[in-house]
């Protein structure tokens, strides 16, 4: 039970004329070691929600428990929390600022009180994890390519050795190669290092491929929560709130409607290929005799 969000309400611009309810009665539990996807339209409140997970936003009511402890309780160390719950913002390359890649990645570890050697070791580990070669350690972060900048920025959070990694649209604006590198990295962190992953994404295909559970946010409320199969089987409801399902789901549902007895719960292309092959082969075989 890593993170428990309890009856969380958030109000934008509280106390001003622009006051607006941002999040409404959010209840969500993120288990240790799970990979949860958060989907929702732009402005649905998903970024606002994840900015609560490390205490950046303060709710109007409700609270969040991290490992059973209330993070909004007086005296609870936000700094410690932020080293445990790493938050990677959208377009994180815009937070690079140091003179070298290595010193930028060391910024986080040093802030949370690691010794110089420890910070150094941790930074180097993180950089090698994201696939940034030693030759580039002393380069200016502004000289890197777009994809490399993104990975260096992610390394800046990884170097704090978080137990939970929260990522807000980590692949936005990247080309397919850059995108896959990041997604593979996240998957590896989850599978090999047991890091809990919270992934906010616009891409239904990506969430379908990697997440074990999906929470759908709409107008500041949790619209649905469940396994990708459960969520995407409700694709018609998703469309009503301006979202969609992966193309595979549409394909299999269409095939079902024209008489193929396929499993419509399948969500990834590779599984769909297998399923279609099975049914086309079967039809050919039984009908052919």
């Amino acid at each position: 039970m890593a993170i428990v969000i309890k009856d969380l309400n958030y109000i934008y611009g509280a106390g001003t004329v622009f006051e607006k309810q941002g999040l409404k009665d959010i209840n969500l539990t993120i288990e240790d070691g799970e990979f949860i996807g958060i989907i929702g339209r732009t402005g649905s409140g998903k970024s606002t929600l994840i900015q609560h997970l490390n205490g950046l936003n303060v709710p109007a009511s409700g609270t969040i428990l991290y490992n059973g402890e209330d993070i909004y309780k007086k005296g609870y160390s936000k700094k410690k929390l932020r080293s445990k719950v790493g938050l990677v913002f959208q377009y994180p390359e815009y937070q690079l600022f140091e003179t070298t890649v290595l010193s930028d990645v060391r910024f986080g570890p040093k802030n949370i009180g690691m010794s110089a050697e420890e910070a150094d070791r941790s930074a180097k580990e993180a950089l090698s994890m994201v696939g940034i070669h030693e030759d580039m350690y002393n380069a200016s972060p502004f000289e890197l390519s777009g994809g490399e900048k993104r990975r260096a920025a992610i390394a800046g959070v990884l170097a704090m050795k978080p137990e939970v990694l929260v990522l807000d649209e980590p692949t936005a604006g990247l080309d397919p190669k850059g995108k896959n590198e990041i997604l593979e990295l996240i998957d590896k962190l989850h599978k090999n290092d047991g890091v809990t992953i919270v992934l906010v994404s616009h891409s239904m295909e990506d969430v379908a491929k990697y997440a074990e559970r999906i929470a759908v946010i709409n107008d500041g409320e949790i619209f649905a929560c469940g396994t990708p199969r459960e969520i995407f089987s409700r694709y018609k409801e998703l469309e009503k709130i301006g979202l969609s399902a992966p193309q595979t789901v549409y394909l299999l549902n269409e095939l079902k409607s024209i008489g193929y007895d396929v499993d419509t719960g399948i969500i990834t292309p590779d599984e769909a290929v297998k399923e279609i092959l099975m049914h086309t082969a079967q039809t050919a075989y039984t009908e052919g005799i």
Binding site: T16, F18, N54, L56, K79, N111
Partner: protein, 267 residues
């Protein structure tokens, strides 16, 4: 906190004042400010107050909103007034207590200072409440247009101002995001020793600067692509043209100047 400052933010009511040519409002505000600095005595301020009240009434901007805007500046006003109160010398002593001496001249000066500042701020605030930043820029561009002949790039300055205004909310949002991102990396802005705090601030300023530069580069390219080549040969979608109400307003401003200065200096 920056969002709490309401002074200077456009307040649409669709009043006649809102529809005036920005040049009229610029001239009016400028002359109003000059007038209050010429007054030597109370009657001038009374004339000013009557006109100011009228303008506020016609503009339909609620008095409460205007007063709320003044609130952040009250401290400054009181501070200046107190200084004048205690440090103005004179013979006509009202109150004396050891080294503290309050004179009649000091009291008068303190009151004047408060009234002047109050009028000055309210007067300019009325202009910004009733004029969008864009109209203001256009007004300035047109009003100072003749300076072009003296090779002062008025159009370029005006465009810079209007672009700056467009990007202020974007950069504010960005600053907010960067602060949050660096806080997520354990950056200190309020606690910790001075070195850590400075490094925290640097970690915000540099990304903000880099991003602003990048946006500027993008914008320059986009302007090039849309045939921007300076002010020469440019036409306007909304050229400024005076109408009857603008001429009438100029008349009213003139009458105000004469009556208030006469009242403030000679009564």
């Amino acid at each position: 906190m920056l969002r709490d400052i309401t002074i200077g933010q456009y307040y649409p009511t669709g009043s006649v004042i809102h529809k005036l040519d920005p040049r009229v409002k610029l001239a009016g505000t400028f002359l109003f400010i000059i007038s209050i600095f010429t007054f030597k005595n109370y009657p001038g301020y009374i004339v000013s107050l009557i006109y100011l009240g009228m303008v506020i009434f016609i503009s339909k901007v609620p008095l409460k909103h205007i007063l709320k805007g003044i609130k952040p500046i009250i401290f400054l006003m009181v501070f200046t007034a107190v200084i004048h109160l205690f440090f103005t010398s004179g013979d006509d002593i009202l109150f004396e207590f050891y080294a503290v001496k309050i004179t009649y001249a000091g009291l008068k000066k303190a009151v004047f200072i408060i009234v002047r500042l109050l009028f000055l701020i309210t007067g300019s605030a009325i202009m910004t409440y009733t004029t969008t930043p864009n109209q203001l820029t256009e007004g300035i561009e047109k009003a100072f247009g003749p300076l072009n002949k003296a090779h002062i790039p008025v159009h370029e300055f005006a465009l810079m101002m209007s672009i700056a205004l467009r990007f202020i909310p974007i950069l504010m949002e960005e600053a907010d995001k960067i602060i949050k991102a660096q806080s997520s990396r354990g950056a200190d802005f309020e606690e910790g020793n001075i070195i850590k705090r400075i490094s925290g601030i640097v970690s915000i300023l540099i990304p903000l600067l880099v991003s602003a530069m990048e946006r500027a580069k993008d914008l320059a390219l986009a302007m090039d692509a849309r045939c921007y080549h300076g002010g020469e040969g440019r036409t306007k979608m909304k050229p400024l043209r005076y109408t009857a109400k603008d001429y009438i307003s100029y008349g009213i401003i003139l009458v105000y100047m004469v009556t208030s200065v006469a009242a403030g200096r000679f009564i």
